[in-house]
Point group: C2
Chain length 512, copies 2
Amino acid sequence: MLTLHPSGTQSLYQQIIETLQREIADGTLPAGTRLPSSRQLARDLRVSRITVVTAYAELEAAGAIEARGGSGTYVLPPWTPPWPAGTSGETAASPAAPALPPWQRDLVHPGNSEREQMLGHVLRGPLTPDTIGFAWGAGDPRLIPMTEFRRALVDVLDADGPAALGPEGGAGYPPLRSWLASYLRQNGLDATPDDILVTGGTQQTISLVAETLLQPGDRVITETPTWPGALEVFEAAGARVIGIPLDRGGMRQDCLVDALENEQPRLIYTVPTFQNPTGAVMSARRRRALCALAEQYGVPILEDDHVREVRFGQPIPPPLAAFDRRGDVIHAAGFTKSLIPSLRIGYVVARGPLREALIARKRTTDLFGSALMQRALTTFLESGAVARHWRRVSRIYHRRHTVMLRALERHFPSGSQWSGVSGGLVLWVRVPEGLSIAALHDAAAAAGVGFARGAAFFSEPADQPYLRLNFAAVDEPEIERGIAVLGRLAQEQVQRGGLDPPAAHCGRRAAR
Amino acid sequence: MLTLHPSGTQSLYQQIIETLQREIADGTLPAGTRLPSSRQLARDLRVSRITVVTAYAELEAAGAIEARGGSGTYVLPPWTPPWPAGTSGETAASPAAPALPPWQRDLVHPGNSEREQMLGHVLRGPLTPDTIGFAWGAGDPRLIPMTEFRRALVDVLDADGPAALGPEGGAGYPPLRSWLASYLRQNGLDATPDDILVTGGTQQTISLVAETLLQPGDRVITETPTWPGALEVFEAAGARVIGIPLDRGGMRQDCLVDALENEQPRLIYTVPTFQNPTGAVMSARRRRALCALAEQYGVPILEDDHVREVRFGQPIPPPLAAFDRRGDVIHAAGFTKSLIPSLRIGYVVARGPLREALIARKRTTDLFGSALMQRALTTFLESGAVARHWRRVSRIYHRRHTVMLRALERHFPSGSQWSGVSGGLVLWVRVPEGLSIAALHDAAAAAGVGFARGAAFFSEPADQPYLRLNFAAVDEPEIERGIAVLGRLAQEQVQRGGLDPPAAHCGRRAAR
């Protein structure tokens, strides 16, 4: 039956396997055939019995044959590979693609496509070739202190050995928490290392807090507009978002009191310092009032302090949590925006049962953090390099901010509005009513300029007349060039008389 | 009013701030006091007006004073820091600690404390001083290929520059997905790079899949016992776990069919290869049958292929997903157990709407992954060092496995049961009925030996008569010493006659 070629370069064992596989595949050995015993085949082929036993075991492991107790070894029916190669994504709809299993057909993807697309652009980072990346949400990667960070990584690997590549569970690397506690104290927030939990970034913090505190149907207060990643979390938790409009001093207190009175929210999410996307800084007085309201209404506040470190000279109030008398403020921050996106390290200040619940929820979510990244960050922070880095990028981003303001003045159509900011990374620009941001976005993308569409920052999808422009990650000539392109495209829309009539949502916004 | 000391080393600006702060704190300037105008104070103190303006701005930012439009600057009421330092954790119950806010009092922490404690031990890793770490779930960190991994990290930083420290969003770094696709094809699983989504480790994959597919009240089939992290995820999703007992060939098909017929499960979670904790390998025949059942009943399967790479010579079947004809198997794996825990990189093979939903859910969960870690891993994998590493650790762990089996034979009380495994990292040991694992665990911890208690691996908390012992992360003399300690402590319990009568749950298990 089997013919082996002992002169070949293959092992006998491999030859047995391949011959049997071929004969099973071409039907010489149909399903149900009883194979000769290993003893018999070894004799026939003049090989050792262990060679045959091993080959049979391999074929059985691969699902081609099966040993049935004492009754012998049988050929199993053939099986086809799970699906043709390359059926994911666009090709999935091609006629050759297999039908989806029924449980997949029920999977409704509930995303807001405007927001998804915007986040998709943001997450590509600003270094995409041929694009001036005003869409990106963090700082300029070219300013990352590569040399110092590389040194910190290598030092940790050399000094800590295998411990640097182990798990970092629980609340996070203790020396990192110590550094953070002392940093927070400098910012006016009285926290101990035991109050701090290291997370995988602020997005994870928001997600952990929402999963811990919210039930489907709960209401959450946010600023409107706000960070789209937070909106995604609250929607995934089944919560309903109540947006509070902002002025230059932050969340408007009159609307906030109204919502607290009438909506029984379970959480307030706020970005009080260099609000995303507007850049507003909540005044000390409103911070104090917000904490008092949270205490009065018994509602916890999640403070997202995303980019405090980048500021342009004016003093800013201490974090909201510094005004908190009773522990109502959950303070979240991280290093994505002002240091290194790739770290994936954030932290949250929380105490009591909440802290324990967050630690347990984090373990359920991703088991533990990266010891290497936590240790390298600690070494970097302790070296003092971070203070120099923050001073340096604040200086550079401040200049870019000025350049962008001047470019907007020069190039944007009259009726556009914006305000300078005192820190952070982005400007929020309003274009004349009726100008289509969606059309502007497509035209700009074709011209190699990206920006974040305003609609992504609102909980109700609509073509909002806003752009968010990152002035930090783009150098001065790029800013000048990119804003000129955007301004020209916007002017062209205006001149073509292509302004849509004001949309229905404006009335709703005005009513707030 | 104010007296400055220009001879001091402090700046005038700092002196103004501190003097005002002191006078506000000691009541010299009570809340509501109108401060002199900046012009007036500058004249009084003979300093420049900008010095006073800056000091006032700083005090306002700190929430001590407030400028009210044109009407002047006023002292605000004092505020106390949010809570006394060090009130977290054990000291929170001390009389000095402030009362918790009401929303914290409702926070019920729904954990299974046995499981939590076990995971807490596991997550400390095996390198805790003075402990022989049989509790740990991954490999020996001392065998991590430090030199090669360090080189990969440095190469990536040098070659890719800032791009290495940016975001890695979407499905993950394309070259990593290409390597994974070709690795999977070698293992018999026909996947393309577009079918693969890089995650933050298998725990995150389980969590993403559960959040995407499960609603509260849904039923999930798992092996029993199984990985406690998966039980935590399913419980957090509000699902009910239906445990299917195992024999050496994996999940028992009779019980599985019974559950599929009667329970309408929404997901099957299985660890078919070197099952955690039992080490069982599901036979090719059962894999084929399981896929056919999933197809028949329309239930997706999440395959956790956690440690395929560590094997002791016997052939093992291809992944369950290789037997899947229609796309019912979601294949999850990672590098925590057989390479480097600190990477926090896993992957999942999924297509169609599920893949899009998982990408969106991952973005909601943690926004994006670490470009640095994904690139360094890719460089390391492409270097071929990983194949050498897996051969090396398989050889070493195989020897340790033999040493542990011999030590168990020598030291454990008669009536104990265990089976050798053909790969993976752990042994599952049954002690004589009535011996208290909880008592053994405490006594062993006091003697410097850790192990994972069996109860953690069951969905119903109870003192199950099992231990999970990691033979891989502990060297041969430590195994001998550690098993001798455990054996002696178990023998002492037996000799003291301290065996409890068989507990009520045994009947329930027998009835399965």
